[in-house]
Subunit: 245 residues, 2 copies
């Protein structure tokens, strides 16, 4: 697959390089004027979001600007700048209709996750290899961060990819993932929102339980799906620094 | 009640003053050569332990030595250097016999907690008033730390005592405490051990749930009742610094 940097800009001490790798569209965030190898964090966005979602960009800027990490974010298949498949469009339409009618949207959401998981894992593995060619990244330790759909794809990625040494996951239940989670052995921080209406609490606890990692910590906070408190980002930065730094 | 300092020693930059307040036996830990007011942390030990239990002394030294806090630890009634009541002796003997026989010891443990809770809350309120008279403590912000039986007494203390502004609790279930927990509104960090054989997981989750605090975070780690990982102490120090510092 052909790798190209399509644009570059720097803001607040962080350089963002937009890239394509074959069909994959992504961004590499590094500290401005960085040279030489550094730990890399892969950030997977949530359902309906993309590589420039506010939570991704804010986190990437903190990890790169404060922590000195390299950070890669990519669009999941059928998300962001990537073409949408017919099957995805139908499932997403079904999901939106059910959510608008206040009905349970678990079935189409799960179908979307299943549809995209295999491709996303392969995409991340290719992106990891490609960005480690950069002088300011190199073949150092790698971490993964992903909430909700980003967690759904992170679990099989961690099971498949030995280069990733630590992960921050969360906002997802165990449904269909228990066996894969049992293959995850790296240190994990797992975030759960206590009043999450999209993820049943017992399902999220079951996913944390299913992870085989001996070093894993669950952090549960009050609030809904998108309301993770800001101090968890401070903690995530410390977690990655401890395990990758 | 008469307050007396009975001995004083300094180790590794921390001064320990043993004191009595009426029948209450305790220790005040402060940074060596400290002068002027500072935040105070009250540390409540677990069942069968005392004010010099290794976990209390280690935590107090970190809070005082690294964080600059004052720390007060006292013996619970019928614990440590305090005389044991007849009723306590009988219940403790029953509990030990059941534990030795691998039987459920919840009933005598709960009875001990109920027996001692009221006195312990009154003790802490008196000790708080007394130690704040020290020049190197003063009337600054106050926190509470207590696991297991220390959590059992901490919940009613927090409900009763407006001077305490933040607490680290855990290793306890909700049984008999739900209504009192609903009166706790200060920021809480709640520690749960995922494989705790002494506290059913759903009961511990229920106690976290019952706390009325809007700023509360549950941290769950693998391992048994006494196996809280060391990095939670780092986090506790940051939690108290954030809320009391």
């Amino acid at each position: 697959m052909r790798f190209s940097v399509t644009s570059q800009m720097s803001t607040d001490g962080v350089t963002e390089q937009s890239f394509t790798l074959g069909e994959i569209t992504g961004i590499l965030f590094t500290p401005q004027d960085a040279t030489g190898p550094r730990p890399l964090i892969l950030m997977g966005h949530g359902g309906g979001q993309h590589k420039r979602a506010p939570g991704i960009v804010a986190g990437a800027h903190r990890f790169a600007g404060e922590g000195g990490f390299a950070v890669a974010a990519i669009d999941a298949p059928s998300h962001g700048d990537r073409p949408k498949s017919e099957q995805f469009i139908q499932l997403a339409s079904d999901m939106r209709a059910r959510m608008a009618a206040d009905e349970d949207a678990t079935e189409p959401a799960t179908a979307i996750h299943t549809l995209l998981a295999g491709q996303t894992v392969a995409d991340w593995q290719a992106v990891l290899t490609a960005v480690q060619e950069f002088d300011q990244v190199g073949a150092g330790p790698v971490g993964y961060w992903g909430m909700s759909m980003g967690c759904r794809f992170g679990v099989p990625l961690l099971a498949a990819e030995p280069r990733i040494r630590a992960a921050v996951l969360g906002l997802l239940g165990a449904r269909g993932l228990t066996d894969t989670a049992a293959q995850v052995t790296v240190p994990v921080r797992f975030l759960l929102q206590w009043d999450d209406k999209m993820v049943p609490r017992d399902q999220a606890l079951a996913l944390f339980d299913a992870l085989a990692s001996t070093d894993k910590t669950l952090h549960a906070n009050p609030g809904g799906h998108g309301e993770i408190p800001a101090y968890e980002t401070d903690d995530t930065l410390r977690f990655f620094t401890r395990h990758l730094g």
